[in-house]
Symmetry: C2
Subunit: 225 residues, 2 copies
DNA sequence: TGGAAGATAGTAATTAATTACTTTCTATCT
DNA sequence: AGATAGAAAGTAATTAATTACTATCTTCCA
């Protein structure tokens, strides 16, 4: 049947995470109420607390969900690449596609980082970003070793800028209210970034990022259950 | 006297803006209460509403304050520069100094953009960023014409990336909780950006951004009353 | 049928805004 | 100048709405 009233707890928890992420795409994450989440799920507000001890616990579940998926995806993307630079590019594309599919996610991360209290969820965001930039830095170092990236490149700064580039695109989407503009603007942004970190000067593209053909892998394979 | 009980309305409004920005540096802008603002000013909560019709009106006053100062500063910085590229650099440095002096500001802008409703304040942020990027794009075009910037540069993407670079640094400061790290990381980030947009390949710096000597102008002149 | 999942109906705390009243400043008129 | 009326600014208390969370009863299904 389509709508069994009673669902197993694990599935309900997963649905809750989904619902929250979906809502975060539409409204300010910090003022999403538990009532709104419940409504989106066709549930009463009190029922949520059968599955989570607190609202913050729901946030933590979201962060865990994000960290798992995002890191898994970028690892996979990096593995299929044939060189550090193409790996960086693949990670960029993958991340962009992730953000387009789940626009609420970056908004929740940003919202969580804004909080002053050192919440568990905030710690999880920190950990996620540390893992993320560590991988980037490793790639950068390897790229420098292979002569593909500028020998004088500041890997740490490059990693920060990488994340900033994506965040800039996200902010643009907040400005225009149109998420899919990200995909159109991403290639241009990455082209500049690429030029900033690569060695030599094979000036104009050759970059593959070109004009909106994602990796077929990315387009199809991840139905994201 | 040090503490006259009754202040003229205009000064009180200005103080309110200051207090809110100061608070935003310490806690999540979206959950700063009117009571907290009042307390910081040594006032009772109700008194605020003698000067503003609503909480949103206070936010609007903040946005106006920011737009005026930020645009004025970057205009001044750009004027003193001798070329488009150095102008871009000067704007970057100026903006960074502004953010370091008022860490609450970017947090409030981000927080406002996150809101789903199209508030007046949000519209003001949009306008500010449009003006900002317009100026950047104009500089980029000029730089291309003069051969200082890459002829194939996508000016719009470059402007987005410019703002994203700054935002990435801000996010880093949210991660570490240390605002002044921004100043240390800024030169590295801009060096990569610069390399990404400039023509030719005078690879390593010569950029002036070097290692934390701000424009003396910036360091001294703006006491920012 | 027994236990997990959900509904219903609360509670206590918080918060923007308002109201009735008091204090302080200031312009005007002798 | 000095008194004073009235406007401007501030206080303290209250209100209505919202929100996370809980206690108790009901339904579903394995």
């Amino acid at each position: 049947m389509a709508h069994p009233k009673h669902l197993p707890a694990e599935q309900r928890r997963n649905d809750t995470v989904r619902a929250l992420i979906a809502l975060a795409a539409e409204q300010n994450p910090t003022d999403i109420t538990t009532a709104a989440v419940a409504k989106r799920m066709g549930l009463t507000q009190g029922a949520l607390f059968r599955h989570f001890p607190s609202k913050d616990a729901i946030l933590e579940a979201v962060m865990e969900w994000v960290a798992e998926r995002l890191l898994a995806r970028i690892d996979k993307a990096a593995q299929t690449a044939s060189s550090p630079l193409t790996a960086v590019e693949a990670i960029f594309l993958t991340h962009i596609e992730f953000v387009i599919k789940h626009p609420g996610v970056p908004r929740m991360l940003i919202g969580e980082l804004q909080r002053s209290e050192n919440t568990v969820a905030k710690g999880m965001v920190r950990t996620l970003l540390r893992c993320y930039t560590e991988r980037l830095i490793r790639l950068m170092e390897e790229g420098k070793k292979q002569g593909q990236l500028d020998a004088d490149l500041d890997s740490s700064a490059a990693a920060t800028l990488f994340v900033g580039t994506i965040q800039g695109l996200v902010m643009q989407s907040l400005l225009t209210g149109n998420v899919s503009h990200i995909r159109r603007q991403a290639p241009g942004a990455f082209a500049i970034y690429r030029r900033g970190i690569a060695s030599g000067q094979l000036s104009t593209q050759e970059s593959g990022v070109g004009h909106d053909h994602r990796h077929p892998v990315e387009r199809k394979k991840w139905s994201d259950r």
